[in-house]
Symmetry: C2
Subunit: 84 residues, 2 copies
């Protein structure tokens, strides 16, 4: 079961940092026309609830990985607002 737990952490961390290249690309190209604003907003709401859930069940892995993902999603939304 230890392997499974490790797999859970690895999978969670990969998903959490996955947005990094998207944020870098949007930052560099200053172009976010093809990015869907409803996607970023829905994601931010969902991740926000997920953070509350993480605190509710006292799970640091959930809280920490989700805060990383939320920070990336909020950054992307700011870039989307800025570059349209």
């Amino acid at each position: 079961m230890l392997y499974m737990e490790l797999l859970g952490y690895v999978a969670g961390m990969i998903v959490a940092v996955a947005l990094t290249p998207q944020v870098i690309k949007s930052w560099k190209t200053k172009s976010t026309k093809d990015i869907s604003m409803p996607w970023t907003i829905t994601l931010i709401i969902g991740l926000g609830l997920w953070i509350v859930y993480g605190f509710g069940i006292n799970s640091y892995p959930v809280i920490i990985t989700t805060i990383v993902e939320e920070a990336l999603a909020v950054t992307l939304l700011i870039l989307k607002f800025k570059y349209g």
Copy 2:
């Protein structure tokens, strides 16, 4: 604790379907230039591992919501390959 569990399901489902407006937008505009391919590929790998983890811990909520999200991510990657 029941409320917390419910919150977990709601949050998970919101995150899982969040990509829907992005897929619809990319499908309609046939433009995915601003979408980062490394993002979609990293997401697909992470979600794939997450599905394995879901089976490993026998969690249907994890399996089902992640398969939905994975299907959306794969669709987006196909659109990205198609429209560049």
